[in-house]
Subunit: 294 residues, 2 copies
C-alpha cells in the first residue's frame, strides 16, 4: 500500500506555483491576486479561508479578505461581487460557502464573472467542464485529478466508483473520470444515498472516490484487493484528544481499508491540501489569462 | 415485453402542446416561433430539419428556416446568430449540426443567447442542468426522460447503464438519471469505447440507455431478464428494401433483445419522435418565458 500523499504533492506544487509567480513578475507582470468574501463566523469556513490566505502568501500571490457579519444583506454581497468583477487588480475571487440562509448561494455564484470564478462553481464553468472545454475546474475535483496524475495511477478502462453526487465533488468527479483524457477514460459509476447495490459496486471498483460525507462509511468488506481509494470526506467529529475539540474524519475506515489498497489518500493530508493548492493553481491560470483571454 | 412507443407519446404531446399554443393565443399572446439555420445538403440534416419544421406547423408554432450553402463563412453564420438573438419575434432557434469543417461548431453554439438555446447545447444550459437548475435540457435526453415518465418506469435506486459519453446524449443522460428527481435517483454507470467490463455492467443493469451509435451493438447475452432498454441509435445503414436506400438502425439487436425486456423502445418510432417533440416543448417553454424570465 502506498499513500496518496496530498500534503507532499501540494508542497511540491506550491514551489512550482511560486516559481511561476516569480517568472510572471520577472517578465514585467504582477503577482496573481485572489480575493475572498467570508460571511459570519462558521468555524470550518474560518479555517478554510485562513488556510487559503496563508497559502496565497506562501506562493507569492496578493490576497484580499473581505469579512462581513451574518446580518449582511444579499444585495450588499451582490454589490461586493460586482465590485470585484470590475476590479482589474483582482484576478480571481471566491465567496466562501455556506452563506447565511437569507442569502441565495446560487444567486451569488451566478453573479460572479465566470472569468474570475476560480472556485469553478459558475454554471458556465460547470457546463464547459461537462463538454470538455477549457474552464476553471472546481478545486476539489481538480486536486483529485492532479493527485492521481502525479502518482501515475492507471485509469483507462478502469472501473471508477464515485460515492456521492454533490455539485462540488461527486458530479464533477464523475464527469472528469469518464472523459477522454488522462486521468479519465474510466467506466464510471455514481452511487449515492438511494443506491441499492452500493456494496457490490464498490467491490467491483478499481478506483473509489468517497465523497458522501459519512465518517468511516467505506469499510474493508466493500473494497477489492489492490483498489485505489481517494477519501474526500472531511467531517468534523468531536474528539477529546485534540486541542480544537474535533477531529477531521474521512469517509473511509482507513486502518482496515488501507492494507487492501494499492494506493489510498489519508485524512487529513490527502485531498484537503490538494484542494487548496488547486485553488491557487486556478488563480495562477486566471492571472496568466490562460483559460479566458479577456 | 411492452414497447416504449415514442411515436404514440409524441403524438399525444403534440396535442398537448397545440392546446397550450391555443391558450397562449386566446390570452392575447402569440404563437411560439422556432427558427432553424441549416448549412449545406447533408441528407440526415435535411430530413431532421424538415421534420422539425413540419412539427412546428402541426403544433401551431411559427417557424423560419434559413438555408445556406456549404461555402458560407463562419462570420456570416455568427452574424445570423446575433440577428436571431436580437430578434424579439424569435423565441428559440437551432443551428442544425454538423456544420462544414471551416466553421467552429463550438463557437457558433456559444454565440447563441442561452435564453433562446432550445437545443440546450450552450455551456450555461449544460452547466445548469448539471447543477440541477431550471434550463433547456437538450432534446434527446429530455425526450428519453419524458418517455420513462409517461410509462411510469420505476427508477429510484435502480442501476442505469448509459452506453456512450457524447456531449448531446451520454453525458447529459448520465447526469439526469443520477439526479435527485423522478425519473432519476439511479445508480448510474457510464460505459464507452474504452470500457473493459461493458458486458458485465450491462448484465447488472435494470435500465440501459444505448447511445454508442454502433448498429445492433447490444445483444441478448448482454441483457438481464426484465430490463428496460432505451435505444438512442439511429445509424443509417444501406438497405435494398427501402425506397431511400437506407434503413435507420438502432444500437440494440431488437429481435433478440426485446423478448428479455420489460420495456424497450424501437428504432424508428422510439427516441426519434420524442427528440423532435422535446424540441417543440423547449420552444413552448421559451415562448412562455417559463425558464428564463427575460
Amino acid at each position: 500500500m502506498q499513500l496518496l500523499d496530498g500534503k507532499a504533492i501540494a508542497a511540491q506544487m506550491k514551489q512550482e506555483i511560486a516559481q511561476e509567480v516569480k517568472q510572471l513578475i520577472a517578465q514585467g507582470g504582477r503577482a496573481p491576486h485572489l480575493a475572498a468574501i467570508l460571511v459570519g463566523n462558521d468555524g470550518g469556513s474560518e479555517t478554510y479561508v485562513a488556510s487559503k490566505v496563508k497559502t496565497c502568501h506562501e506562493v507569492g500571490f496578493e490576497s484580499s479578505l473581505f469579512r462581513y457579519d451574518n446580518s449582511i444583506t444579499e444585495q450588499a454581497i451582490l454589490d461586493k461581487v460586482a465590485a470585484l468583477n470590475n476590479d482589474p487588480a483582482v484576478d480571481g475571487f471566491i465567496v466562501q460557502l455556506p452563506l447565511p440562509k437569507h442569502i441565495s448561494e446560487q444567486k451569488v455564484i451566478e453573479a460572479i464573472d465566470y472569468r474570475k470564478d476560480v472556485d469553478g462553481f459558475h454554471p458556465i464553468n460547470v457546463g464547459r467542464m461537462a463538454i470538455g472545454l477549457p474552464c476553471f475546474v472546481s478545486a476539489t475535483p481538480a486536486g483529485i485529478v492532479e493527485l492521481l496524475k502525479r502518482y501515475n495511477i492507471e485509469t483507462q478502462g478502469k472501473h471508477c466508483v464515485v460515492l456521492g453526487r454533490s455539485n462540488i465533488v461527486g458530479k464533477p468527479m464523475a464527469m472528469l473520470m469518464a472523459q477522454k483524457a488522462y486521468p479519465g477514460d474510466c467506466t464510471v459509476t455514481v452511487c449515492h444515498s438511494r443506491s441499492k447495490n452500493l456494496k457490490e459496486m464498490c467491490l467491483s471498483a478499481d478506483i473509489i472516490i468517497a465523497a458522501l460525507g459519512v465518517p468511516e462509511f467505506l469499510t474493508a468488506d466493500m473494497v477489492k484487493q489492490g483498489a485505489v481509494i481517494v477519501d474526500v470526506g472531511t467531517t468534523r467529529v468531536p474528539s477529546t484528544t485534540t486541542k480544537s475539540g474535533f477531529k477531521l474524519t474521512g469517509d473511509v475506515k482507513f486502518d482496515e481499508v488501507a492494507p487492501k489498497c494499492s494506493y489510498i489518500s489519508p485524512v487529513p493530508g490527502g485531498v484537503g491540501p490538494m484542494t487548496i493548492i488547486s485553488l491557487m493553481r486556478n488563480t495562477l491560470l486566471a492571472g496568466q489569462k490562460a483559460i479566458y483571454k479577456d
